[in-house]
Symmetry: C2
DNA sequence: TCATTTATGTGCATGAATGAACAAATAGAA
DNA sequence: TTCTATTTGTTCATTCATGCACATAAATGA
């Protein structure tokens, strides 16, 4: 499926639209307007229309968007018609929770293998997912054709582990450690920094308070 | 401590700076330049300097920034000199993992109480944190003077639960559910959407591939 | 003391993202 | 068929964020 060059901000919103389209579709709705969608996803309606328009004229004036059409379209755009397997590196508290997290329902993603160095965990199957020793990383990623991994190891091992992952051919990392890992130019790293997010929330709350 | 009006983007980076300053301080470093910091946090050095300059001239030309000074300054700016207690609503897989997550070490944050509706969990202490029934929400938040909560309930209960939280006086929510909850104007909601982040990463990887 | 190096603080140009506003087109009612 | 209400697709102005580039100032060494 050929893809259009779209702004980063738009790309980030696509999965959000997709999820709400599923909800609409399941509740039997046939059409939806950008205003309705705007209420649900909390994005300005003009932005929604522009986002959609990057892919061509998907709607009808005076009517709105056909839910089924739109859903089918986004399914292809987001590669939701095929299952994407990802790896999990580091089966601690957070890693364990992610193993149980259902990425499959509204996104077609599955954690299909996990890695750790703790001999008490490796060689077993946790929440339906086999846990391998780190030494098997390269082999397994190659066998299962996995190019994306979730990184949930302790901060201290973050960079070292990431280097092993690059070596094993990983193309994208969702980094849950608070360390900003340095990566080769061709690898994409998405940082999810829980403590920082919470800290930022606190900061904004305090400054809200002082505005009055 | 009176605060300066600073851009949103800067505010989001402050906790990141703070964390690296701690690391630098612990490793015994006395001074740091914006260029050095830039390598570590992966933010342009000019941006770092501008971020710092919102708070006045904190550095010395030809020298850099004094780590101890800077650290002390940010500690106050970010309210890190006092412990911030937050609540956790929904003790499922993810909630449980967050209970074990150490927000205290580099950020001075602690989950001091949790809430759920499952009678098998409520009334017990998990990972050192007491778990109450949802009916006790208002009372406990008031008793413990908590205004911030982490929301990790199933999607289906997200809005309903959030409404209860507003009723109980919550001011800020870190929302881990994929639902965009609607909230009163005076409440801040920070969305952390794991599946969407992963989906976005996959999208960008695919489009990277097609660029060549 | 003086020259050189280092590194800050900021002006400026560029680019991205947003949301208001509106013309064009369609739906649906009369 | 005709008219009105609706809703898209897009233009435009504005705001926000970024990073280059450089004047300014301090530190260091000769």
């Amino acid at each position: 499926m050929e893809k259009v060059k779209i702004p980063r901000a738009t790309a980030k919103r696509l999965p959000l639209y997709y999820r709400y389209l599923i909800i609409l579709s399941e509740s039997g709705k046939e059409k939806v307007s950008s205003t309705e969608l705007s209420d649900a996803v909390q994005v300005d309606s003009a932005s929604i229309r522009r986002d959609f328009s990057y892919f061509g004229a998907l709607g009808k004036r005076g009517y709105g968007y056909d839910v089924k059409n739109l859903l089918g379209f986004f399914k292809k755009i987001l590669n939701q018609d095929t299952l994407t397997n990802v790896a999990l590196v580091g089966v601690g508290n957070l890693g364990h929770a992610l193993l149980n997290y259902n990425f499959k329902r509204s996104n077609n993603i599955r954690i299909s293998c996990a890695f750790d160095i703790d001999k008490n965990i490796t060689g077993r199957i946790l929440s339906g997912v086999p846990v391998y020793d780190m030494s098997e990383l390269k082999q397994q990623l190659s066998d299962q054709q996995i190019s994306i991994a979730v990184l949930t190891v302790p901060s201290l091992h973050a960079q070292k582990t990431a280097d092993e992952m690059f070596e094993a051919g990983i193309q994208g990392i969702m980094n849950f450690t608070p360390i900003r890992i340095s990566a080769p130019a061709n690898v994409r790293v998405q940082n999810v920094d829980l403590a920082t997010e919470l800290q930022t929330l606190i900061y904004f709350l305090d400054s809200d308070k002082q505005d009055h």
